[in-house]
Symmetry: C2
Subunit: 189 residues, 2 copies
């Protein structure tokens, strides 16, 4: 598009402020870029959906003059890894004791169930107490199906989740865990 780089930067800045999970997102995006560069996987963040109220034309181009951020009914990231469908979302919590289930919208939970049913790999990346865990979709669903609790205690995440660490080269390297939960053989060994 015919916009200077400065505006593009502003855009990224705004988008980041619009999301609670700023740094977590950045770490995941770095991993996705690394995977793309190394031709390991094709995983992208979906664009944030918006609702457009007003569009005008300037210099023969459509410009959005009034719009609002809408909510995603699926998860934020999806793509392809070793022939398999992969989808996940990144969630932050400020709580030090539990992950509030309300952080995952009802339609996202429905979608999680569907992805499992259709044979995809689906999970959450949760930051809690400054640590980051990959919690496999089936474990998340099993928890909420067997409790009336409104949050997942940290002990459950610690027990069932897989810790992830940020790596300066790879970003938040989650694919090695996808190899485990997806039942892939580790081709390097």
């Amino acid at each position: 598009m015919n916009y200077p780089n400065q505006i593009k930067k502003e855009y990224h800045k705004n988008i980041n402020y619009a999301n609670r999970g700023m740094d977590l997102e950045k770490m995941i995006n770095e991993a996705n870029e690394y995977y793309l560069e190394k031709d390991m996987a094709l995983i992208y963040k979906k664009p944030t959906p918006i609702g457009i109220v007003k569009v005008s034309y300037e210099n023969n181009q459509q410009k959005i003059k009034d719009a609002y951020f809408a909510t995603q009914s699926t998860l934020d990231y999806n793509g392809l890894y070793k022939g398999k469908y992969v989808e996940f979302d990144a969630k932050n919590t400020e709580s030090k004791t539990a992950f509030p289930i309300s952080n995952v919208h009802k339609h996202q939970i429905l979608h999680l169930r569907r992805v499992i049913r259709h044979g995809g790999i689906v999970f959450l990346i949760i930051r809690i107490k400054g640590l980051i865990y990959l919690l496999n979709g089936p474990d998340f669903i099993e928890f909420i199906d067997h409790t009336e609790r409104k949050s997942i205690p940290y002990s459950f995440i610690e027990e069932k989740g897989y810790p992830l660490e940020y790596n300066y080269n790879k970003g938040l390297d989650y694919l090695k865990i996808v190899d485990l939960i997806g039942g892939f053989k580790n081709e390097e060994n």
Copy 2:
């Protein structure tokens, strides 16, 4: 979101006008809704990416006051079918003799190659001469890799493509062709 339905309708109207493939998109969206309802597949159109120039706060909500439509570097639709990753794009051409390859952006062609390499199912849905064809990604890539031509002649699309028809209940039912190109067994027979 706290917006009346009228505004949401306006949004859809605007989005449709923003795309050349209005009716084709609508037919595909109907099919995707049908597949979702019948629990056959999970395939969604990605939100149109936008570049945000200005955001303001109104009633404690972020509102976009200046933005432009950006281009998707991947294809518009992706999802999950029988455990497999599926991605495609819908393309219209006014030409009656050939499909201009420039309708598929360079980064989209690169992405197509990557999806094939990683074992995904990828294709184009092309409307030409008022007819609609599903052209499998490998056939598209094979054509452009063996020619200097700037467009794909209609005869090639007619020979290699699979005709699709709109169905009042199912929309543009393309999954039956995905069964063929994806090597799935037809479970109904």
